[in-house]
């Protein structure tokens, strides 16, 4: 049947090869981040194993004193964990309500014009380097707080957690707003059609239908607060202490040290690569990683669970 007019369907080997090369380039890019993550986890693990060969994990996880470089050396991580917890609680108290209300405003109430001003402003807030937030807290927020709380420390958990809270508002509001904007208008119309006010539409339809996105935004923002380093190192100081949660004034008005700040301090100090103090840096890093990783898993789980329920 083949004639002179038959189309030429022969494979072009050059093109096939080019496709294979392109495919490889894309694959390498995609794999790069995975390999980096694996490398980081392996490094954290191997140095932590070296650390735990000398300090028992039980002692590390339950010890209530942290003094890695000075005699008597103590490697109890609890003061650092509670320091991080204090910052996270304070930041959550600021960022979750304000971020959520901002998202509702942007998604349900704001005119196109208000939205076109506010959204870029929030993005700018998210883009400010964290070191600037840290100095802002130290130089402006703490003195302002001192007029209300005269006993406040120069370095204190309150200004640090407030500033971290402000820092993560854009994260809460933008992810939550994306989730709310994805709620179909048909549901809003149904609610308005039944005589609901804007507030009722927001609280009884939009927020419940986007709860998985909102929960994810909360958890991601808290992960960010837990991992935040520069601002808390600058504003909250470096006083590792086991906080007494029954005394909120004592907790917030004084200096604390977070896990991240302790790592900065260790890394910047003159401890050597072979010392136990240096290795403790990786053990703290591993602890931090486990916490944020677990939170991301929870966030994923919530998102998938509610996606099923609401389809």
């Amino acid at each position: 049947m083949s004639s002179a007019n038959a189309p030429d369907l022969t494979r072009d080997d050059g093109r096939t090869r080019r496709e294979a090369v392109v495919r490889l380039v894309f694959f390498v890019c995609a794999v790069l981040s995975v390999l980096t993550t694996i490398g980081i986890v392996l490094t954290l693990l191997s140095d932590s194993v070296a650390f735990f060969a000398e300090v028992s994990p039980v002692q590390f996880l339950t010890g209530t004193s942290w003094s890695p470089a000075n005699d008597p050396v103590n490697f109890g991580v609890l003061p650092l964990v509670t320091g991080t917890l204090v910052i996270t609680i304070g930041a959550a108290a600021v960022a979750l309500p304000i971020g959520l209300l901002t998202a509702i405003y942007l998604s349900e109430y704001a005119s196109d014009r208000a939205r076109s001003v506010l959204k870029p402003a929030l993005e700018v807030l998210a883009g400010v380097p964290t070191v600037i937030y840290g100095y802002f807290a130290l130089v402006y927020v703490t003195p302002a707080l001192a007029t209300i709380f005269p006993t406040i420390d120069t370095f204190n958990a309150l200004s640090a957690s407030l500033i971290v809270g402000i820092m993560i508002i854009p994260m809460v509001s933008s992810i939550s707003e994306d989730a709310m904007s994805a709620v179909p208008d048909s549901l809003r119309n149904a609610s308005y059609g039944l005589g609901a006010t804007k507030f009722t539409v927001s609280t009884s339809v939009v927020v419940p239908a986007s709860v998985s996105g909102i929960a994810s935004s909360f958890i991601l923002a808290l992960s960010r607060a837990i991992g935040e380093t520069m601002a808390v190192t600058i504003a909250a100081g470096n006083t590792p202490r086991l906080v007494d949660l029954t005394d909120p004034a004592g907790v917030f008005l004084n200096s604390i040290q977070t896990m991240t700040a302790a790592m900065v301090q260790l890394g910047a100090s003159d401890v050597t690569g072979q010392s136990i103090a240096y290795k403790s840096l990786f053990a703290v890093g591993l602890t931090l990683f486990v916490i944020t990783f677990a939170m991301n898993l929870v966030s994923e789980w919530i998102a998938s669970r509610y996606r099923e329920e609401y389809r």
Partner: protein, 288 residues
């Protein structure tokens, strides 16, 4: 507050010349219900214009919609029929660019007066939308939603049941009221939306192509239901399905491109003896 109107031949002033005796026409062809009694009009528009930005979607609509009848609004896509429907309960307020001029009277009160709260208006006028849009909540919570929103939760169980029975859905769902409404079929979901709309017992039920997303069996269930509901409610239904309008409505309004109300009369008159050539062309499928 209400006005008594003779609406059997009220469509337009000029209609009197074309069909002086619409009542006799109905009686002779026998397809429509006897509809020669004096009927009150619930909704009345006067010189109603709607603009979306610069674009005029409705032009000087004058119409009187009778109580406890089914009024169908038909017309080609983009003729403004949904826009008109959404004017009645001020859903167009939710569109930033929409602007309404003229009057739309509900029980004699212009709903565009400055002192009218659209929330209060929508509590008197229920709406069913084109695609079923149940909330991602239980069947019970969907039906109870309007009553709860209106803070009217006395005898809630009873009223949810009544609404589901009237929507012909009770027998299918009474053993699983706490299950998600999203697990129902499309036709069941739309009947649920009707139950949700009638649960607060509104005066008027607006339906925007309520069967367009459904299969033929579900469509015929919805149509039966609409005829039932018209015994107690004033129903205004937008449809692009002319057979549907002919089957279920007492009155038919024909909107044509450009947002004009071209003809409004008893359904049998509109379908069998339309006054305007353009309407006849549309109904017989020459365009649209």
């Amino acid at each position: 507050m209400t006005q008594q109107n003779v609406t059997t031949s009220e469509s337009d002033d000029d209609s009197s010349t074309a069909s002086p005796e619409p009542g006799s026409g109905i009686a002779s062809n026998g397809t429509a219900e006897a509809e020669t009694t004096t009927t009150r009009s619930v909704i009345e528009s006067r010189n109603l214009d709607v603009y979306y930005g610069e674009e005029r979607a409705l032009q000087e609509i004058d119409i009187e919609i009778p109580a406890e009848k089914v009024t169908a609004i038909i017309g080609p896509s983009g003729c403004g029929k949904s826009t008109f429907l959404r004017c009645i309960n001020r859903m167009n307020d939710l569109v930033d660019s929409a602007r309404v001029e003229g009057e739309l009277l509900f029980e004699g009160k212009n709903v565009y007066d400055a002192d009218v709260d659209p929330v209060a208006l929508r509590r008197r006028i229920g709406m069913v939308f084109q695609a079923p849009n149940p909330f991602p909540k239980s069947i019970y919570d969907n039906v109870a939603y309007g009553l709860r929103v209106q803070d009217d939760t006395e005898n809630l169980d009873e009223r949810v049941e009544t609404a589901l029975r009237r929507a012909a859905l009770w027998d299918e769902v009474n053993d699983r009221l706490d299950e998600s409404a999203l697990d129902l079929s499309g036709g069941q979901q739309q009947r649920l939306c009707i139950a949700r709309a009638i649960a607060p017992d509104p005066d008027v039920l607006l339906m925007d192509e309520p069967a367009s997303a459904l299969d033929p069996v579900a469509t015929s269930q919805i149509e039966d239901l609409i005829e039932e509901l018209a015994q107690d409610y004033t129903v205004v239904i937008v449809t692009h399905n002319m057979q549907q309008a002919a089957r279920i409505s007492d009155k038919t309004a024909v909107f044509l491109t450009g947002g004009e109300l071209v003809e409004f009369d008893d359904t049998s008159v509109v379908f069998e003896n339309p006054e305007h050539q353009r309407v006849e062309d549309y109904i017989t499928g020459k365009f649209g």
